[in-house]
């Protein structure tokens, strides 16, 4: 997994790749905690290169989501690949997160707020 942080304000972009699972989740949580305090708590997680996600990773995303919202921000996702999309639909996680098809789409909608 590769975490890349780019910071065009006011959004922090986190790009992940590979397996997003129990081994990776703690690192992800730490990264998000560090970035929430810097910006107004808007985080975009790009999952384009993620081919696998498990329940621990979902729990990490949910934690991030609540954290961001408590700080007046939000956590959104974009570029979900099919295996991940399936899991989100099965578990209705797509009710909990704002999901965008592309980064560009996400930036436009978030900046508009």
């Amino acid at each position: 997994m590769n975490i890349k942080t780019l910071s065009p304000e006011p959004i922090t972009l986190i790009e992940l790749s590979g397996r997003f699972d129990a081994h990776v989740a703690p690192e992800f949580l730490t990264l998000m905690d560090e970035n929430i305090s810097i910006f107004a708590g808007y985080i975009l997680v790009d999952l384009e290169k993620v081919n696998f996600i498990d329940s621990t990773a979902l729990a990490a995303l949910v934690r991030g989501l609540k954290h961001c919202r408590e700080n007046g921000g939000d956590l959104s996702l974009c570029n979900l690949q099919q295996p991940v999309q399936i899991i989100f639909e099965l578990t209705r996680m797509d009710n909990a997160f704002r999901i965008y098809s592309t980064q560009k789409d996400a930036y436009e909608k978030i900046r508009a707020k």
């Binding site: 129990a22 498990d54 329940s55 621990t56 979902l58 729990a59 949910v62 934690r63 989501l65 609540k66 639909e89 099965l90 578990t91 209705r92 996680m93 009710n95 909990a96």
Partner: protein, 426 residues
């Protein structure tokens, strides 16, 4: 010197060496069963004084998780205020000991050696012998220190073993407690109209999965399966709260429907789940034997497999997200025809996400195929078939998540007994 005098001297030296060997051996034996660190050191300094023929001996042990220990013989011989600065100033060499310091008119020699990574052990003795003549005594001191290191290590390991054993006992007690929260038995199919079988296997002693089964008076059965995110003790604590909240919902809500129950549990548990950084996927179902219907609610839970008696198996998707994520639950009650021969399987993702040694997951497709293959078997046989398939697939790769599987099959003959009542079909 004459040959015979030389021989006498040699004989004396040999005898002395033998005595010292015996003394060291006695030291080893006396300290072998002594697991208390301070008492161990007391024995060591006492015997060291004798073996070394010293005026006084002290030992200090300084290891990470312990307060530093100082023991001397004769007891309180050394003035701590004077000796401690000397001990601290003693040069630390990585492997072998070094003679460190000389104090007052009668010299004190300190051996300093590492123990357990960053720990230090020091042996100090006061002896009226010049350093030039000290070689045999230093060798003995080294041997004593080596012996001390072994025994100290044993003492620490012993303590650690006891702590581990206590922890294991507590975990086993927790496991039994958690198991006792779950239904003691499966309600008989004569009461519920369905054949049920359950497999429940936490990944460690305690876990975050739960299930509940009961016969629904005059109707059929109510059941639920849930999965708290995470594993081990934190998940187990939330598991008991969630299970309790669900049971209360079933019992005390007026005209309970899956929608109402899930909404109430979400409301009760939302703050706890937020604080804990967790959530719970829950499937709750209510089977009505008279109507041949299953009313259910699915809060983010999977895998849920429905296999009709004469059709293809399919996954039942969640219609609302897991409990504890949103302040209000959006789950609706769903209705499904549930007729003789139909099968419902509710598992937790420990099944669908079970991995084999090459890190492939079992996946949903296999679950669907498997239930179709086993559709003519009893609930128990279907459950056993699934468990066997998962174990074969995993082929020894350790179970990383709690695994729960509930299999429900509608009886071929619909006949429900309620104690003395008999409800026969016309």
């Amino acid at each position: 010197m004459s040959s015979s005098s030389k021989l006498d001297l040699l004989a004396e030296a040999l005898s002395e060496a033998q005595d010292q060997l015996l003394a060291i051996s006695a030291l080893a034996q006396t300290t072998a069963q002594q697991f208390d660190l301070e008492q161990l050191l007391s024995i060591l300094v006492q015997q060291a004084k004798q073996i070394l023929n010293a005026d006084a001996v002290f030992m200090t042990v300084d290891i990470n998780n312990q307060p530093p220990l100082f023991v001397d013989f004769p007891t309180n011989y050394f003035n701590l205020k004077e000796i401690v600065p000397l001990i601290n100033a003693a040069h630390e060499s990585p492997d072998a000991f070094q003679v460190i310091h000389i104090m007052d008119s009668v010299p004190i020699y300190i051996l300093d050696q590492k123990i357990r990574g960053t720990g230090r052990i020091k042996l100090g003795f006061q002896i009226d012998t010049p350093q030039t003549a000290l070689s045999p005594t230093l060798n003995l001191a080294q041997t004593i220190t080596d012996q001390a290191k072994i025994q100290i290590e044993n003492s620490l390991l012993h303590k650690e073993l006891i702590t581990q054993a206590k922890l294991q006992i507590e975990m086993e007690a927790a496991r039994q407690m958690q198991a006792s929260l779950l239904p003691k038995s499966i309600p008989p199919s004569t009461e519920t109209g369905v054949d049920m079988a359950i497999h429940f296997q936490p990944a460690s002693k305690v876990g975050g999965d739960f299930y509940d089964l009961k016969s629904h008076p005059h109707k059929g059965a109510i059941f639920s399966v849930g999965d708290i995110s995470g594993k081990g003790i934190p998940a187990a604590l939330l598991m008991s709260m969630t299970l309790n909240a669900l049971r209360n919902g079933v019992r005390f809500i007026e005209d309970p429907t899956p929608k109402k129950i899930l909404a109430q549990v979400n409301q009760n548990m939302y703050d706890d789940f937020t604080r804990a950084g967790s959530f719970a996927t829950v499937f709750i179902g209510s089977y009505d034997a008279h109507k041949g219907e299953l009313s259910y609610g699915n809060a983010g839970h999977s895998p849920v497999v429905f296999c009709p008696a004469n059709g293809d198996a399919r996954l039942l998707e969640a219609d609302g997200t897991a409990l504890g994520i949103l302040p209000e639950s959006l789950c609706e009650s769903q209705i499904l025809d549930f007729r003789p021969g139909d099968i419902l399987i509710v598992g937790t993702d420990g099944f669908s996400e079970a991995e084999n040694p090459v890190r492939e997951m079992f996946g949903y497709k296999k679950l669907l195929h498997l239930v179709e293959e086993l559709r003519h078997s009893s609930a128990q046989a279907i459950k056993d078939g699934f468990v066997q398939a998962i174990n074969q697939f995993a082929s020894g790769y350790p179970q990383s998540d709690d695994q729960t599987l509930l299999v429900i099959k509608v009886n071929e003959i619909k006949e429900i007994n309620h104690g003395n009542e008999k409800d026969r079909p016309d």
